[in-house]
Symmetry: C2
Subunit: 199 residues, 2 copies
């Protein structure tokens, strides 16, 4: 005996979600049986809607339902500074904490000689196009430190070497509240060499 066919369909659909295995899918599917019809219908509509309405912003590759995303079209933001992130999720992190008031650029991946990810595989050409159009004073690379991040940062800084644009990356160091003994040696080394004079 297995579950009724339509319940099995739902369990199988749920299993394609990241982090959802057999047991979790089963638990979620059975819980969904108890939801009222309106809730399930709006869920189904939300799933369809997300694919039909959302597309990448042609300027920064952020997600948007408009032609150009809310950030690129916002006249109150600085136009001369671009924060380069790996993923759209990272924009949300900066924005929800109001940490940055310039433009973004979503690479959608990092250069990785090991995985064979070339600059052509990520949204990097459009970054140089934006910089070459002028008006940009600084490009901040805000990507978590890794070998791929270093390869990507190096590529960007080389490409913009003679553009007159400052290329920087977010400081590497020990995060607030972290236990020193769990910080890797590379980070500690960088935190030490990037030390800040406080008096």
């Amino acid at each position: 005996m297995v579950y009724p066919k339509s319940l099995n369909n739902l369990i199988n659909s749920l299993k394609i979600l990241p982090g959802v295995g057999e047991k979790t899918a089963e638990r979620i599917a059975l819980a969904m049986l108890n939801f009222d019809k309106e809730k399930l219908e709006s869920f189904a509509t939300a799933i369809i809607g997300v694919k039909n309405k959302i597309k990448p912003c042609p300027i920064c590759h952020n997600l948007t339902e408009q032609n150009i995303c809310d950030i690129c079209s916002n006249e109150n933001r600085r136009k001369d500074i671009i924060c380069v992130v790996e993923d759209v999720k990272n924009i949300f992190l900066f924005e929800k904490n109001s940490l940055f008031n310039g433009q973004y650029h979503v690479l959608g991946g990092l250069i990785s000689p090991i995985d064979g990810t070339d600059p052509d595989d990520i949204n990097i050409k459009t970054l140089f196009d934006r910089v070459n159009k002028g008006d940009i004073k600084e490009v901040i690379i805000a990507i978590k430190p890794s070998l791929e991040e270093e390869a990507t940062s190096l590529y960007i800084s080389k490409k913009l070497e003679n553009s007159g644009v400052t290329v920087s990356k977010i400081a590497q160091g020990v995060p607030m509240g972290a236990d020193m003994e769990y910080i890797d040696a590379m980070t500690l080394e960088n935190a030490l060499s990037d030390r800040k004079k406080i008096s």
Copy 2:
């Protein structure tokens, strides 16, 4: 800045699922953006289908798309023994391991003096109706040990005291407070064969 509206809708829909919080919903929603359209459409269809097609079996309260569930309508199963479970999920556990070849009865809850759950609040009257129709030789209570299980078992055994039907419960091989779905098949099998006559 927040996510585009349709992405927010999806995140909010995902958050109603059990065990899915803000971060997980965000991660799942962003992953779903990369699914192809057919996959998302079949997901949405599965969600709608589950509510429209599935209903409880009028005999045993298992879930079914038919008038009577696959187990109740299966002529090759023993008709004289009923395994009483708390939840439809538990049927699946026994069935997938082929541990039991009789009938089931899904209570959909347990008697709890503390929570104020009375016998009328669960599918227990239909169990007695089935037993009173005759043909039933044994009722096995297969519910994880707890105070509510004891109250429920006691109620069932009292009610069937003079019916001539054997009432048993699975052996306490299942540890107190453990979730049925995390018990291995061997333990379940032993618990089933070591069932204890209680009236």
